[in-house]
């Protein structure tokens, strides 16, 4: 097909065009059809394609050389372009533009021969398009930037940082625990009443304030009142009654033990039980604060009457308690369940008789807490808290000396003495005194379990209390139901002072501020205060504190405030303020230690007494 069309232009140019047209159409068609087969042809041949209007030249003509000169001028561009020149105001040729013309007359542009032409393009119609989004949510925020708000923010930031540090240190085990904790918290924080738990601190303070308002006069008296009449009374003093503490739940029980807390000076513990052998019921342990006389701070109940208690000096939340059934227990005030934290049992060596006194001791060598207890079964037992269990060690078994009975088989029976009171020496750690039901006082040592260091024939009936003097290391005091209070020097077998109080003495206590002052309470409802420095033979205060029917059972001095608390057998506790005469401090020379003053005085008194005795013996 192709060679045929190539030849066509030599002969018939008209036809040529048509044929070309056809040819092209055909070619198109062909090319169209050829496309499908074209790939084969492409691959097969690379023959040059001749365009149809190519000149056919002979070889000789092909070899002919033609010279061509190339210049910068465009040979195809026309030579005489005419352009409209604004300057001239008419169409001029470019040649004329290039050559500078001579200036013609300037044309004036005024309204007669100046015409302005303006044209305006078509203004597209304007259309408004609007779109409105939803407004972002807004809240009003207002706050004050006080100094304390800034401080709080910093403190919070600090806490957050510390928390993240802790979290980094402890990884998964802590995370699990905290997960459990969170679950527990969620379940309990559901009812409205639980929200009020957050108010516990506020309600506590509020109750105290309400009480303070009600008992305002008593609070003022406690703090500020000093009986001015004491100046006119020679040496006698008075006791001013302050608050009364009583609780419905402890109504029919007697106060069996009183103890001030060594750290929190307004908190005291009261043990309730019964001294009556026939009527034994439950017991209670209540802790009152002077700041709230209407309701105790802590309340614990027990099956058996509480007979004695002691609060640990270093751990003021641990209370050791002895029961009527012979058990001892430790209550932890930090965990206010009504059950004791640790309790002895029949297996773990409880006493077989009521425990009359317990006393905390210093921690033993393994840093375990330990305390001693004395009971009517004749055993003095040391209890140690080892790994959450109470372990007991019998320290001494009290024997009644000199009365070994012989049983027909030749064995010797040692009747067991019954301990009713004991007290440990303030400085000599191993030495302590035990009072017994027979009226004897034994001086014992923790290290000797079989023998007593000394024996004193103290009283005719059971010894209710023995107490070392807080200042003088040699002097101690004892009281008993045989109506007497006796003061001893532990090196001398006979008492230094004997006082007959006309009624069974329930308890005696030394004053913490003076070595010569002590208080005694009797079953006829009277409280007696003695000051040996002022009056050796008589009480300087002799005052009925409770109704005659009520027998006073215990008395304790507060360590810093000039008050005493007295318990009776009806479950009432009365607090009394000591008038100034009762708390006279000896006027020592300035600069000298006042503490040793009273002891020096007592030594003087002892010497005086001894002189008196020697004189008596001689005569």
């Amino acid at each position: 097909m192709l060679p045929a069309s190539a030849k066509a232009p030599h002969k018939q140019p008209h036809k040529q065009s048509i044929s070309i047209g056809r040819g092209t159409r055909k070619r198109d068609e062909d090319s169209g059809t050829e496309v499908g087969e074209g790939t084969d042809e492409w691959a097969q041949s690379k023959a040059t394609v001749r365009p149809p209007d190519q000149l056919e030249l002979t070889d000789a003509e092909l070899k002919e050389e033609f010279t061509r000169i190339l210049t910068a001028n465009n040979p195809h561009a026309p030579q005489n372009i005419v352009r409209y020149s604004f300057k001239a105001g008419e169409k001029v040729t470019e040649e004329e533009l290039m050559t500078p013309k001579q200036p013609k007359e300037r044309k004036l542009t005024n309204q007669f021969n100046f015409s302005e032409r303006a044209s305006q393009t078509y203004n597209n119609p304007v259309r408004d398009r609007e779109c409105q989004t939803e407004p972002p949510p807004r809240t009003n925020f207002s706050a004050t930037a006080n100094q304390w708000e800034i401080y709080d923010a910093y403190v919070e930031e600090l806490e957050k940082q510390e928390k993240t540090k802790e979290k980094e240190k402890a990884k998964t085990p802590v995370a699990k625990k905290s997960g459990k904790m969170a679950i527990r918290k969620l379940t309990s924080m559901e009812s409205q009443t639980d929200d009020l738990i957050k108010l516990s601190q506020a309600t506590k303070i509020m109750e105290r304030m309400v009480n303070q308002n009600t008992y305002d006069d008593i609070a003022q008296d406690f703090k500020y009142y000093d009986d001015a009449a004491d100046e006119y009374r020679d040496q006698v003093g008075t006791l001013l009654p302050l608050w009364k503490f009583q609780n419905d739940k402890a109504k029919r029980l007697s106060v069996t033990a009183l103890c001030w807390n060594p750290k929190y000076r307004d908190l005291f513990a009261v043990g309730y039980g019964s001294y009556d052998f026939m009527k034994q019921s439950r017991g209670m342990l209540l802790l009152y604060s002077l700041k709230n006389p209407s309701f105790p701070e802590y309340m614990f109940g027990s099956n058996s009457g509480v007979m004695c208690l002691d609060i640990h000096v270093d751990h003021p939340y641990l209370v050791a308690v002895g029961h009527y059934d012979g058990n001892v227990a430790i209550y932890n005030l930090k965990k206010p369940h009504s059950q004791p934290s640790f309790c002895s049992s029949a297996k773990s060596g409880k006493h077989s008789d009521p425990v009359w006194q317990v006393k905390w001791q210093k921690d033993d060598m393994d840093q375990n807490l330990n305390f001693f207890s004395v009971s009517s079964d004749g055993r003095i037992v040391s209890w140690t808290l080892v790994k959450r269990k109470l372990v007991h060690v019998d320290v001494i078994k009290l024997k009644v000396e000199g009365s070994t009975t012989e049983v027909p088989e030749g064995l010797q029976l040692h009747p067991v003495g019954c301990g009713t009171a004991f007290d440990f020496h303030k400085e000599i750690d191993y030495m302590f005194l035990v009072g017994t039901e027979e009226g004897k006082i034994y001086k014992c040592s923790k290290s000797y379990s079989s023998q007593f260091l000394d024996t004193y024939d103290a009283h005719n009936t059971s010894v209710d209390t023995v107490s070392w003097n807080p200042y003088h290391t040699k002097v101690f005091m004892s009281c008993s139901s045989d109506w007497t209070v006796k003061i001893w020097d532990h090196t001398i077998k006979t008492p230094m002072f004997i006082y007959d109080l006309n009624s069974a003495v329930g308890d005696v206590a030394w004053a913490p501020y003076s070595s010569t002052v002590f208080a005694a309470v009797t079953t006829d409802g009277k409280a007696h205060i003695f000051d040996l420095a002022i009056n050796k033979y008589e009480a300087i205060c002799n005052q009925p504190v409770a109704a005659k029917k009520n027998r006073l059972t215990h008395v304790q001095f507060n360590l810093i405030h000039p008050i005493i608390i007295v318990g009776d057998d009806r479950g009432h506790i009365i607090s009394l303020k000591l008038s100034p005469n009762l708390r006279k401090m000896p006027k020592e020379k300035k600069g000298q230690e006042v503490q040793k003053g009273p002891a020096v005085e007592i030594a003087k008194l002892d010497k005086l007494l001894n002189l008196v005795r020697e004189v008596k013996i001689k005569t």
Binding site: T144, N146, Q147, W148, I150, Y151, D152, Q192, T193, D194, D195, L196, I197, K198, L199, S200, Q201, A202, T203, K204, I205, M206, E207, M209, V210, N211, N213, T214, D216, S294, F295
Partner: protein, 96 residues
């Protein structure tokens, strides 16, 4: 009853106490023993006063904080114990 409920009950039955109420951090009373209008009045007014008192105490020393507020008037005494989230208000007439 929880110890807090018992204590609140004791306070209410104490001698001379006219009324007690618990108000939350926004000044809305939660619990009260007085009638509605009095409660709302007390709650609103005392809430502002407590905030002002607290602000005063803390401005002077940021480490300090308000523990108790007492307003003694001729007829009775209003006591406010602020807490983290709540306010406990007690109105007492000490000398009956």
């Amino acid at each position: 009853m929880t110890p807090v409920e018992e204590t609140l009950k004791r306070i209410q039955s104490h001698k001379g106490v006219i009324g007690t109420m618990v108000v939350n951090a926004e000044g809305i009373p939660i619990r009260t023993t007085l009638d509605n209008s009095t409660t709302v009045q007390y709650a609103g007014l005392l809430h502002h006063l407590t905030m002002k008192a607290k602000s005063t105490v803390r401005d002077i020393d940021p480490q300090n904080d308000l523990t108790f507020l007492r307003i003694r008037s001729k007829k009775h005494e209003i006591m406010v114990a602020p807490d983290k989230e709540y306010l406990l208000i007690v109105i007492q007439n000490p000398c009956e």
